[in-house]
């Protein structure tokens, strides 16, 4: 519990810093000593997991905080062994099925059956159901989601499922209708600044409001990121100054530099260098859609108004195509080349109009 993210994480619904109305609703939900399947959705770093843990604590008491790591083994129909790491207490189990990749269907089926088929022995004073928390639920494949929809109904007596997803659009409607959706929006800047100040106060540090504001801006309203950034800044330089450098994410900087290079020069040789950089990003595990997004944001910022629309149009086109393919580098490079194409044309027109 050394990182501030963990150390100052609210553990009870009553101690949540923001979205207090929602916290009240959740507490009311627990009062009936039962709840339906839940789906927490909202951007990353908004506090979904925090709320889930608070809710569980509200339900089961402090016992849920006695966590243990467990590795579960699954065997796919094709005889492939998969290890899935789970974190759980006596009352709940948290999994991230996207670890299994394309075999997540097996994981979902087996895991839920395992959990759901074992009834609680000590019924008195406890709930008769366990909770399975599925994080990154939107990474589940369609197959897994379809497998989930039946088990969710079948074992409803013995287990509840809490999904934590970023976007409901990637969850099939059948699951969406089976869950109670709880939206956890990203905290507002003011709320975040308050949290940061509060944290610093508890750490015994002095945080200039300007710096807090800058950290919040850099973090893109991601609470986790903001706290980590603050902590990194503290390690780099402590008595805080308002204008001190804030640690940034390397891949974001790298992506920004890449976008700048695209705008600076449009030649096949440059395209090849860009390809190397894209390869680098991909191999470091940066998801291609994030790369797309980062590139487009930067390119659109850096180019003329007249080609912004076109850039966005192409970006959507190639991003869509990328979903149908497996080699993301082709699509990324295709988009870069297309941008270079329209940018060059734009520059040529500019020169023409200047000349005459």
């Amino acid at each position: 519990m050394a990182l501030w993210v963990d150390k100052y994480r609210p553990r009870e619904l009553s101690k949540l810093d923001y979205h207090k109305d929602q916290a009240e609703n959740l507490r009311n939900l627990c009062k009936q000593s039962d709840f339906p399947h839940l789906m927490f959705y909202g951007p990353s770093g908004a506090g979904k997991k925090t709320r889930i843990m608070c809710l569980l604590r509200e339900m089961y008491g402090a016992g849920v905080e006695r966590l243990r790591n467990e590795t579960m083994n699954f065997t796919t129909p094709s005889n492939r062994k998969i290890d899935i790491m789970t974190v759980g207490s006596n009352y709940h189990l948290e999994v991230n099925p996207s670890d299994a990749g394309m075999y997540d269907r097996t994981v979902v089926i087996d895991l839920i059956k395992q959990v759901a088929q074992t009834h609680q022995i000590d019924v008195n004073g406890q709930r008769e159901f366990k909770v399975i928390v599925i994080s990154e639920g939107d990474e589940l494949t369609k197959d897994a989601q379809h497998a989930l929809r039946r088990t969710m109904e079948k074992y409803v007596a013995t287990c509840r499922i809490i999904l934590s997803v970023n976007s409901t659009s990637r969850i099939i409607p059948a699951i969406r209708s089976r869950c109670l959706g709880i939206r956890v929006p990203a905290p507002s800047e003011a709320e975040m600044i308050a949290v940061l100040q509060n944290t610093c106060k508890r750490e015994g540090l002095v945080l200039p409001p300007e710096l807090a504001k800058r950290v919040v801006e850099k973090s893109e309203r991601n609470m986790r990121r903001a706290l980590l950034m603050l902590e990194a800044s503290k390690v780099q330089q402590y008595p805080f100054t308002a204008q001190q450098q804030i640690a940034e994410l390397d891949w974001q900087v790298y992506l920004r530099e890449t976008a700048a290079q695209i705008v600076s020069e449009q030649t096949p040789a440059k395209l090849e260098k860009i390809r190397d950089r894209l390869y680098e990003l991909l191999s470091q595990g940066v998801p291609p859609n994030l790369i797309f997004r980062g590139l487009v944001e930067q390119l659109v910022n850096n180019c003329d108004m007249s080609i912004k629309a076109k850039t966005l149009e192409y970006a959507t086109q190639y991003e869509h195509r990328m979903q149908n393919g497996a080699k993301h580098i082709f699509h990324l490079e295709a988009f870069v080349a297309q941008f270079m194409n329209i940018y060059k044309k734009f520059l040529a027109e500019l020169v023409m109009t200047d000349d005459f």
């Binding site: 990182l3 990353s44 902590e231 390397d250 595990g285 940066v286 497996a326 080699k327 297309q338």
Partner: protein, 995 residues
């Protein structure tokens, strides 16, 4: 070759293989058994009898052939009758000249060259009523003689030597002179001799070219004999031409007229002019006859006494398979090197001496023979294509050529080359030539390791009972590249095991396992991964492609024998088209023969026959995509019907349509679209292209996206119905990027590197995730951890610490250090010392956080070596503390640890000691032992600083010092292990326990 070479023949054996070649020829007549006779006189007598009785098998055999076609045909007599009219002796010289064989003085001995004993043709052609009798006579005589030779080996030797004596007298020169010559020369001679022999055979079969000349000459002769501008001496009739020139035409006798009429009637079925095709056919047949007499091996490929044209049931490929060494079409150096290797087995297999180095000294040929090849290599460099032959030979030449048992160092020969070059044929022919019985194991047999083992052991250690001539076995493992890997591993073990068991013990049992028979393996692709172990121990013979001209000549011979009308050009074209695949050429010819009895250049060019799906390397395919073929000369069929001018040299059509077709063909033949796509992708930007606006690149990339989508769909849904669309991308890329210049193509490694790196990163990330304890769940999971937490974590874990002792750190540093340690323990990270690539030690995070999410130009963990070392130690301590049993003591332990870290807390020493005593051994750290006892504290406290001034420690520090002293440390038992002392393994044992 019906018996092994024995001592008497050693000389011959050692000498030249060519001698055996010569010897081989008459052996072809083995089938014709004429019964034994010991002298030529007896043979002659017998022959006379047989001739009269007309009962000889041989007589029948060839009479049927002769009488139905060759010598009986009137056309043949037409050639010579003019000459006979004017000069009765003229036919002889003409024939000799045509057949290129000098009429030697030693007529009686020329057994191997029966030509010398062959009666002059005009003798046979005497226009008598009973022409068959002398014919029979001649033919029977020939065959008789040859049959005799075959059956009487002893006599044959004498004949043979005599024969060689006058043919190759240079090989009988003085040994001294011989020694003086270099081995190279001798080897050259040997090869030249074979080539010469081949050339002779070839010349004798080159009928078409000679035919033209002889036809003209015959025509001219005919004119000269029968027409005249002046008044001739023979009876004539005068005629006047349209240009008023007067001609005198010869008058013939009635008898002659009659004969002419007969001839005409006989020629009814033949079309063409007087001296046209009909004569060509005569020439073919005549030549065939001569050839059959002169070089029996090639001629008598079909031992059945039926005419070849009747024999349609057999495949030509099988029918015209080379039976003898000299028939082989493959490269002479290849043949010889393999034969040489096989001969090296002679000592083990036949128990007779082959050119082992020492024995060679006396025989004075072996050294030459063994070194010939080396020196020859060096000079010509011809062996360089033959894999490791040259190097291995050199290595063998260093120690000995053979091992203790007299076997060659490489127990296995590995023939490799594309299909259809005659590898199998070569192996069989050479093995038989060297006196072995061939046992072939090929892909059609069971090649599981067990079956393989059985076959190998049976083949090498047993001999077939049914094998009447008791030849030893030679195992030929055909198509070995398709064998399972275990089988090949077994083979390698089998081959090399012999050496081990031999080396281990000299007992008979050990020698039982020794490999005593040669093994020849044949494969198409030598770089098959399964063959790697074999490749290292084997004698690798790689097959160079066959010369197209040489192949075409052989095809021509076959064509003549099968009465297939064709010409040399067509056959050359056929050979080239098939990529010099002998098998496919012959099959094509047979196909045409079955169709219409004529094979022209048009047929070859028009047809897709003989063209096979040749595998092209990836680079060839990429080359074809990135390069526009230059128009090249090409034989093409013209529209005119004239058969003579059917072939025309034109430029190939390089229109877009052709290019598209070419690219599709090439890509289709390769098939590995995914890798091809990757190759194009990684190379297309390097191509020189005039594409200022990126339109071409954009289009190309759209196609890349398209093919990626297709491939993804195929892989996901196993839907191969969309597979054919993949190849059109290559056409687009070709049209966009292909230039006339030679493209620079690099092998695509980027994609592979990318995959490797991604996998590596993923593994590190997985291990990082596994290490995270339950108390650090806030760092997120999956991508969030990787993208948000890890980059910032690197900053958090890089506190700025001065390189001083822990106690001297400032408060902020202390705090940062403690924080860092806590975080690292939470996340399961630690620093481990590893040796870097440069050789010095570095501390690296474990799991390697530094490589995760690291981009060129960005700092990772900025901790210096010292800090890392410090943190590593503290992290270990912290781990131990956390792992300590929970409860009251744990509380104290953490407190004491905190005290230790903070440097100055006023915890009483006794309590500390008690805690320390309660700690289990493995949790205790070594503390310096106090030199003095408790009764001398003031002395101890009197420490001096650098300048000699007395410094006083604070009482708190003293307490802390004391806290470090440990009761157990004081214990007298220390263990010394290697370089240090340790009291970690220690137990207090009281004496009374032992008593």
């Amino acid at each position: 070759m019906d018996q092994y070479p024995d001592e008497n023949e050693e000389f011959e054996l050692q000498y030249q293989d060519e001698m055996e070649l010569l010897e081989d020829m008459p052996h072809e007549y083995d089938a014709v058994d004429n019964g034994p006779s010991t002298s030529r006189q007896a043979a002659a007598a017998l022959e006379q009898q047989q001739q009269k009785a007309n009962t000889t098998v041989a007589g029948f055999k060839d009479v049927s052939r002769f009488s139905d076609s060759t010598l009986n045909s009137p056309q043949l007599s037409q050639i010579t009758f003019g000459a006979r009219q004017s000069d009765s002796a003229g036919g002889g010289p003409v024939n000799r000249r045509l057949f290129g064989t000098p009429r030697g003085p030693a007529v009686g001995r020329g057994c191997s060259t029966p030509m010398q004993r062959m009666p002059p043709i005009e003798e046979v052609l005497t226009p008598t009523v009973d022409r068959t009798a002398p014919l029979l006579n001649a033919a029977a005589e020939q065959l008789q003689e040859l049959g005799l030779k075959a059956n009487n080996k002893r006599r044959l030797e004498r004949d043979l030597f005599g024969d060689i004596d006058d043919l190759y007298h240079e090989s009988y020169e003085d040994p001294m002179v011989k020694k003086a010559r270099t081995e190279e020369q001798r080897d050259n001679e040997a090869i030249e001799r074979i080539l010469e022999l081949r050339r002779k055979m070839r010349e004798s079969s080159k009928t078409v070219r000679q035919d033209e000349v002889s036809r003209l000459r015959a025509l001219h002769d005919f004119k000269m004999k029968n027409l005249s501008y002046e008044i001739p001496t023979w009876p004539f009739m005068a005629l006047q031409r349209s240009d008023l020139e007067r001609l005198y035409v010869r008058f013939h006798s009635e008898e002659y007229e009659q004969r002419q009429l007969e001839m005409l009637s006989a020629r009814d079925n033949l079309t063409g002019s007087l001296l046209g095709e009909a004569k060509q056919q005569v020439w073919q047949e005549a030549n065939e006859l001569v050839l059959r007499r002169m070089a029996p091996p090639t001629q008598l490929v079909n031992p059945e006494p039926v005419a070849p044209s009747v024999d349609t049931g057999r495949l030509w490929v099988d029918k015209y398979k080379p039976r003898k060494y000299i028939d082989l079409l493959s490269d002479e150096m290849t043949n010889r090197s393999l034969l040489y290797w096989l001969k090296m087995w002679d000592k083990v297999v036949f128990g007779k001496v082959f050119h082992s180095k020492q024995e060679q000294q006396t025989a004075n040929t072996g050294v030459a023979a063994s070194q010939q090849l080396n020196s020859f290599n060096k000079r010509t460099g011809k062996f360089e294509s033959n894999g490791g032959w040259r190097q291995r030979k050199a290595r063998q030449a260093l120690n000995t050529n053979v091992d203790e048992l007299g076997r060659p160092m490489q127990k296995v020969a590995l023939l490799c080359g594309p299909p259809g070059l005659g590898k199998t044929t070569l192996a069989h022919t050479i093995a038989r030539h060297a006196g072995y019985n061939v046992r072939e194991i090929n892909a059609s047999d069971d090649r599981s390791p067990e079956a393989f083992k059985l076959a190998l052991e049976n083949g090498t250690q047993m001999s077939s009972v049914l094998n009447e001539d008791k030849r030893p076995n030679c195992i030929v493992l055909d198509e070995i590249d398709g064998a399972p890997r275990q089988s090949i591993e077994y083979l390698v073990k089998f081959v090399s095991d012999g050496i081990f068991s031999k080396a281990k013990s000299k007992g008979a049992k050990a020698e039982h396992n020794v490999l005593r028979r040669p093994i020849i393996c044949i494969c198409n692709d030598i770089y098959d991964p399964a063959l790697r172990p074999l490749r290292q121990i084997a004698f690798v013979v790689s097959f160079p492609p066959i010369d197209a001209a040489r192949l075409a000549e052989r095809l021509l011979q076959i064509a003549h024998k099968e009465h297939l009308k064709t010409d040399f050009g067509a056959l050359i074209a056929l050979a080239e088209k098939s990529g010099n695949d002998v098998r496919s050429c012959i099959s094509t010819m047979q196909f045409f023969n079955a169709q219409k009895h004529c094979l022209t250049l048009q047929d070859v060019l028009n047809n897709n026959l003989g063209q096979k799906d040749r595998h092209q390397g990836l680079f060839d395919v990429w080359g074809a995509i990135f390069r526009i073929q230059r128009p090249k000369k090409q034989l093409q069929q013209s529209s005119s019907n004239n058969a003579e001018e059917a072939a025309q040299v034109t430029m190939t059509n390089m229109s877009v349509a052709t290019r598209v077709r070419n690219v599709l063909d090439v890509v289709h033949s390769s098939g590995d679209y995914e890798r091809l796509t990757q190759g194009v992708y990684e190379n297309y930007l390097q191509q020189r292209m005039p594409d200022p606006n990126f339109t071409g690149i954009c289009e190309a990339l759209q196609w890349f996206c398209f093919s990626d989508a297709l491939q993804h769909q195929i892989a996901r849904q196993q839907n191969y119905s969309i597979y054919p669309y993949l190849q059109y991308g290559f056409v687009v890329w070709h049209l966009l990027f292909a230039t006339l210049a030679w493209p620079k193509i690099a092998f695509p490694t980027r994609g592979f590197e990318f995959n490797q790196k991604s996998t590596n990163q993923r593994n590190i990330f997985q291990s990082l995730r596994k290490g995270i304890t339950t108390s650090a769940q806030g760092v997120g999971q999956g991508n969030i951890l990787l993208l948000d937490t890890v980059p910032l974590l690197k900053r958090i874990l890089s506190p700025q610490l001065r390189s001083v002792a822990v106690q001297l750190l400032s408060q902020k540093e202390q705090y940062d250090l403690r924080h860092t340690i806590q975080v690292m323990v939470d996340l399961g990270l630690t620093f481990v010392q590893v040796k870097s690539a440069e050789g010095h030690y570095v501390f690296q995070t474990e799991p390697d956080l530094d490589t995760l999410c690291s981009f060129p130009g960005f700092p990772g963990l900025t901790l210096p070596y010292f800090s890392r070392q410090l943190i590593a130690r503290e992290v270990d301590l912290e781990r131990i503390r956390r792992a300590a049993p929970k409860g009251g003591s744990a509380d104290n332990a953490t407190k004491s640890a905190a005290a230790g870290a903070a440097g100055a807390t006023g915890a009483p020493g006794s309590k500390q000691k008690a805690i320390a005593a309660r700690l289990p051994n493995h949790l205790q750290t070594l503390k310096p032992k106090q030199i003095s006892d408790f009764n001398a504290p003031p002395k101890q406290q009197l420490t001096k600083d650098f300048f000699g001034r007395v410094t006083h420690k604070t009482t708190a520090a003293a307490a802390a010092e004391e806290a470090k002293t440990d009761a157990i440390v004081k214990s007298p038992i220390w263990y010394r292990y290697k370089e240090g002392f340790n009291n970690a393994v220690r137990k207090d044992v009281h004496l009374n326990e032992l008593l």
